[in-house]
Amino acid sequence: MEKPREFNPSELMHEYLRQKKKFPHIWCSGCGIGTTMGAVIRAIAGCELDRDRVVMVSGIGCSSRMPTYVDFNTLHTTHGRPIAFATGIKLARPELEVIVVTGDGDVAAIGGNHLIHACRRNINLTVVCINNSIYGMTGGQASPTTPQGKIASTARYGDFERAFDLCDLTAGAGAAFVARGAVYYARQIEKLVVQALRKKGFAFVEVVSQCPTYYGRFNKFKSPVEMLYWQRDNTVNVKAAAKTKPEELEGKLLTGVLADRDYPEFTELYDKLIADLAAGEK
Amino acid sequence: MIVVRFAGYGGQGLLTAGLILADAAAVFDKKKVIQTQSYGAEARGGASRSDVIISDEDIVFPKPDHLDILVAMNQLSVDKYSASLADGGTLIADATFVTMVTFPDFYSIPFTKIARERLGREIVANVVALGALVELKGVVSKKAAAGALEQRIPQAALDVNRKALEEGFKAAREAASAREKAVADYDIV
């Protein structure tokens, strides 16, 4: 595979952020979204995408504020709907590079239906889901990825419901590319997003992130750093996992590329239909 | 202005019959036409109807309060809509299914039986009925009906439908002369 472009990361940030217009940002100190934003920007720069043709779409929530700060065509939509908006953009103009930034509540609760159908449809989008296992913006309510038994402001006695494994969900729904990274491994996120951007088809990247303000405070994490260590200690790269005993993998999250397969891509099929009709072949 | 209603079960092709008639009147006979339909949730089996209004002048309101001709493909339609027929109106019933008519001016012709026995396709009963309607009441020209049929019916089914239309003309002529004879006999008595 082609090697990504080399660059100086801090210069790069200034080049891609709307730092004069919209800073300071809204995220709490210790939050994982900023780290992920850096990784996404490095991935976009690494792929040398023309920023005039990059569209970043988001829904509602902390992570969905990312488009505000980056210098692309940016669309901050309604709660749970960014994939549906992005689908319209991509089908209308397949030449645009459409990236969805979303959170666990946005993409898996209110937007869960759009997510699975986008997987099935296999339209060439890259979805980056920053999963902090809680609703941060509204004050720490339980989300579809809050682990069973963990505390949230609407689950003071512990959450009864089981958490979604977003990667299993999207892989099961037929996504062409599924990967998981963690904020602790910021450079890995960058690499996974590069692969997702280059994938022709629907690509889903889950980023395991931390919300020290709510999830951490409710669930007895002393600091953001401790939450990052939790990520380090509870994730196993999928390649290493192949050589690990099953009992040692109990309760661990697999990271790396979890699904990578090729299906016909929606906009290509559609463009072919248009061409066939124009040529009188249908 | 003439108001025609095709009524029966969903799946009997009433909408298609209405569309062919409407096309014949509008596109071929250059009349003013409105076609409306009413149907239930059932694609097959529920009550279904298609109304066609044909006029020389602009038609303002598309839902007339009376019918001039009712083509009833089942008993339910006769029971339900006979009362809507205007004085001087005509009921044309599919004798295959309709056993009792409650309107004085009527023709009873076994459209479905004809379709099944003479054409081998029960599904073209609608076009047999359309043919009979055209023959008996002249609401559109025969040429218009045939022309509209060519437009609306897919190529593969055209042949049997052309024959169905002819069978409809024929059955109507027979029914009309039988009725004339019956009326004449009655007069003698």
Partner: protein, 377 residues
């Protein structure tokens, strides 16, 4: 001249007006629109998308419109309810699009195959917050074509969603119709400034702020949050006030251009029937019969429901003895008449909610009663 269904005429109007994107979800009685668009759009290089629900449908339409394509969706009651969320988003972000809502009986699943006019207020106030609305109501198959073209033109010109609100009768009936050979088509205004000077919500030098398509170098931000002229979220009271008022101001200035009503026999009318959609046909038939019987009756066909024709109704109130408002609901638009008339004349509603159209006879009876010396209904 051809025999054409209302829903089909809507698709013809949309294609002739330049619509090149459709996203929708099947629902009776609007489904024919999606079916036809799925066949016709790829033939002209356009895109059709069946989404997983109506929420996603309008989301995809707004996304496509932001790339510069003229875009639309079509639905009916239950789907229209789901669309309210993103309809509000389109108003707030000022993204042109057409939403066709073929009205069937409600509430809820109601009467899927029978007509109603129960969504008139929902079309105006269905989404939360303050915003203007353009809502057009066709009463014939030709109207379905002409008003669809007009709806697209208004959407592009004023950077707003526009709602076309046919009832089931108009959408499903077939009429002989001769479509215009050529229609005037309005295209979206492009920015007049280079990207570094571009503000997507700055209308200080043009009637409406130009909207740059995504992917053309302007790289701006769009959000459903209340935003400043650059498009970024704001809570500064002066900026918020400007943003909310501007939405309304934009439409108020062009009110007279947007409102289109057909007026017949108003000059000497004692009794005026004001109606829209299929009821306008009943009203016309009733008034013709009333005239033939010597009653001084007139009628108004409101092809634009919203914005409401306040000025016209005020004028009618000066001269007419009564205004009859027939609606296939329990009295929705009639309240606007009450507001405009302020007791200066009688406003008489006729309601019908049994899934059948109001007949000319029903209206004629009321005209006769009101026209009688000293008559009230």
């Amino acid at each position: 001249m051809v025999l054409m269904q209302g829903n089909e005429a809507i698709t013809r109007g949309a294609l002739d007006a330049g619509v090149r994107f459709f996203a929708g979800y099947p629902i009776t009685p609007s489904t024919e629109i999606a079916e036809i668009m799925s066949v016709e759009l790829p033939k002209v290089g356009g895109k059709f998308l069946q989404m997983e629900d109506e929420i996603g449908s309008l989301a995809a339409v707004i996304g496509a419109s932001l790339t510069g394509l003229k875009a639309m969706t079509a639905t009916s009651g239950p789907g229209f309810s789901l669309m309210q969320e993103n309809l509000g988003y389109a108003y707030m972000t000022e993204v042109p699009c057409l939403v066709v809502n073929v009205m069937r009986g409600g509430p809820s699943t109601g009467l899927p195959t029978h007509p109603s006019q129960g969504d008139v207020m929902q079309a105006r106030w269905g989404t939360h917050g303050d915003h203007p609305a353009i809502v057009l109501a066709p009463s014939s198959v030709l109207d379905c074509y002409v008003l669809t073209v007009r709806a697209i033109n208004l959407a592009e010109r004023f950077r707003t969603p526009v709602i076309l609100l046919p009832d089931e009768v108009v959408a499903h009936m077939r009429e002989d119709v001769t479509l215009p050979e050529k229609v005037d088509v309005v295209d979206r205004e492009a920015p007049h400034v280079p990207p570094e000077w571009y503000y997507p919500y700055d209308d200080s030098t043009t009637d409406v702020a130009p909207l740059a398509p995504f992917g053309t170098g302007f790289r701006f931000h769009v959000t459903g949050l209340t935003h400043d002229r650059a498009g970024f979220a704001t809570t500064v009271p002066a900026e918020v006030d400007r943003a909310v008022r501007n939405l309304k101001r934009k439409m108020d200035r062009f009110r007279l251009e947007i409102i289109q009503v057909e007026r017949v026999h108003l000059a000497d009318a004692e009794v005026v029937v004001a109606a829209y959609g299929i009821c306008a046909r009943s009203a016309e038939a009733a008034v013709m019969q009333a005239r033939a019987q010597g009653y001084r009756a007139g009628f108004v066909n409101m092809k634009t429901i919203w914005p409401f024709c306040f000025k016209l109704v005020e004028r009618v109130a000066e001269s007419a003895k009564a205004i009859i408002v027939p609606e296939m609901n329990l009295g929705q638009l009639v309240r606007e008449f009450d507001r405009a008339v302020c007791g200066r004349t009688q406003v008489v509603p006729i309601s019908r909610v049994d899934g059948e159209a109001i007949t000319p006879r029903q209206i004629l009876d009321v005209i006769a009663e009101l026209a009688r010396p000293g008559g009230t209904a």
